[in-house]
Amino acid sequence: MNYFPDEVIEHIFDSIASHRDRNSISLVCKSWHKIERCSRKKVFIGNCYAIDPERLIGRFPCLKSLTLKGKPHFADFNLVPHEWGGFVHPWIDALARARVGLEELRLKRMVVSDESLELLSRSFANFKSLVLVSCEGFTTDGLASIAANCRHLRELDLQENEIDDHRGQWLNCFPDSCITLTSLNFACLKGETNLAALERLVARSPNLKSLKVNRAVPLDALTRLMSCAPQLVDLGVGSYENEPDPESFAKLSAAINKCTSLRCLSGFSEVAPRCLPAFYPICQNLISLNLSYAAEIQGNHLIKFIQFCKRLQRLWILDSIGDKGLEVVASACKELQELRVFPSDLHGEEDNDAAVTEVGLVAISAGCRKLHSILYFCKQMTNAALITVAKNCPNFIRFRLCILEPNKPDHITSQSLDEGFGAIVQACKGLRRLSVSGLLTDKVFLYIGMYAEQLEMLSIAFAGDTDQGMLYVLNGCKKLRKLEIRDSPFGNAALLADVEKYETMRSLWMSSCDVTLGGCKRLARDAPWLNVEIINENESNGMEQNEEDEREKVDRLYLYRTVVGTRKDAPSCVTIL
């Protein structure tokens, strides 16, 4: 098998980056397994409880980059208790003790403490990159450790985390010798920022390409920052409530004009709309625009801005843009590949004319033929619209539609939306991720099972009629990895029909469905290689064993395959069967 020496094979493997390909390579033969594992630099672990740090380090001793995901996806929507788990500390601890040469750590939905960050900062001399997405449990003190101790830090990227802001001086903790920063994102910090420290840091970071500041960085500070970093590619703007005076506006415009490399723009969380025109000169260069936090900017200002962004590939906005606004996007942004439209009115208090409907979606699909990813929150939808969208855009990889009112039917025909979603899965042969909503019967799942051959992740809420719905999906979607279901009438029959299926999947989440404790217990017995977790409202629900409870419906079920058995860090509200 091996006509080449190991070093040559290793060199060939070096050019293979995708972790899935590398996983496949390692299965070819023992020799390749060994070469692959010893040369593997990047490892991706989709569920931190599927494996443990010791086994990770044992297999990949030369690890440099680790990606870990913790809590299930629905934790983002407050469906998982804070203390559920997903602690990163044991991982950092084990990697430190084994003296792994860690350079990059990327975490999603994990609990990170200041102690963990301190340990991280002191244990890996070559540490370069920390990316935290939707994490919690730490404060700016932890960030101070990272700033102070990571001599070669290049990237500190904090996306949508819950960070306790102690309003300290963490930015001051970067030593003067730190000049290697390429990316700094602290947009999610809520407190004040030491502007002088930030300006000094940016001024001594000639390689800084990405800078995303938080609300506390006002207009004049932003101007100074941009002036000393004209090489920026990716900028996240802070806030400025008041209208700028002409002089400030002129200075801002001058600074922006110098940033000829700027391609990505975001932030604007509290921005006076009249500041937006200062950015007009660079609109034509933008490939990514995130105005989804810009609640203060009305639709017409957004539209005026976006129509200049002819090269836009990615757009995240609020539904205040309206259908009319989306029609402008459709005619201006012919290169659009990814669109996310978020809801702006979350309490249902307003009869929101400006929100988006099926009209906007159809317009986008007609104008933006390169679209492959969409997340669309809207107040109504029709089958006809979805069928048209499917015809216009057969290249969807991700299609997530969220109709704000649960169980809402086609608003013209009053029928279910089965046919509409059916058209989407039938046309989009490469579909990997799907979220469905509105009034849906078992039929939509028949279509999904039949046509969605590449589907890896499916999110279901308030849908279906019987167990058959869930069975269609489990039997049909051969590549399914993650299934998350809430408030749908699927029960034990569906859960238990094909236990082996869960070995091919990363995880299954079911909340407010019809599965019972008895069903879950039976599953746990039949599949010892699964962790079957029951998450209760309060501690007292857990441990009773009498007959009656077996028929009690389970509030939240989360199961996942694992090679390391039951985890030891579960809180009292979680029962692992």
């Binding site: 819950e162 989804s292 309490h347 249902g348 208090e349 009629d465 019809d514 019972t516 028929r551």
Partner: protein
């Protein structure tokens, strides 16, 4: 599956007149049909009418946990106010506070107490604020003056336009 043949849980085929023997090939269909009943709770012993009614009425947006599915940092960023004016009866000038700095009512009320050096009484749903001469009120998006504390915090913070701390003598209803 014969959806149409099931009405109110009764399989009308049972009472249908035909020439064959009863039972036989009908049995399999019966089993399938029973799964299709409107009552979605298949494994519960109690067919609770009450529960059925509760389940069939669509839950309203504001009452469902985790709906719509957006991350909490987006929920806090919704359209509306950040800074609101605060007036207090008898105080010479107004103040401004940033509602986004507070996560709940106790935090806000404490901040107001500190700012104006007074105490707000204790809140109860029935009687409003008792135990002090002051009542916190706010003007909502419709222009109405409301008592602070009645609605969930998120709803309050997104609809509050102005705050006014009224002297008890000026608020007749309480």
């Amino acid at each position: 599956m014969a959806y149409e043949e099931v009405i109110n849980g009764l399989n009308l085929k049972d009472t249908e007149l035909r020439l064959g023997l009863p039972g036989g090939e009908e049995k399999e269909q019966d089993l399938e049909v029973s799964c299709v009943r409107r009552n979605k709770r298949q494994f519960h012993q109690t067919t609770d009418e009450h529960n059925l009614i509760e389940e069939s009425s669509p839950p309203s947006k504001t009452q469902i946990v985790g709906w719509p599915p957006v991350r909490s940092n987006r929920k806090n960023n919704n359209k509306g106010v950040s800074y609101v004016k605060v007036s207090m009866d008898g105080a010479p000038y107004l103040r401004k506070i940033d509602l986004k700095m507070y996560k709940n009512y106790p935090e806000l009320l404490k901040a107001l107490e500190n700012m104006f050096k007074f105490t707000i009484g204790e809140y109860s749903e029935r009687e409003g604020y008792k135990g002090s001469g002051f009542v916190p009120t706010y003007e909502d998006k419709d222009g109405d003056w409301m008592l602070v504390g009645d609605v969930p915090w998120d709803m309050f913070s997104s609809s509050c336009q102005k705050l006014r701390i009224m002297k008890r003598s000026e608020s007749p209803a309480l």
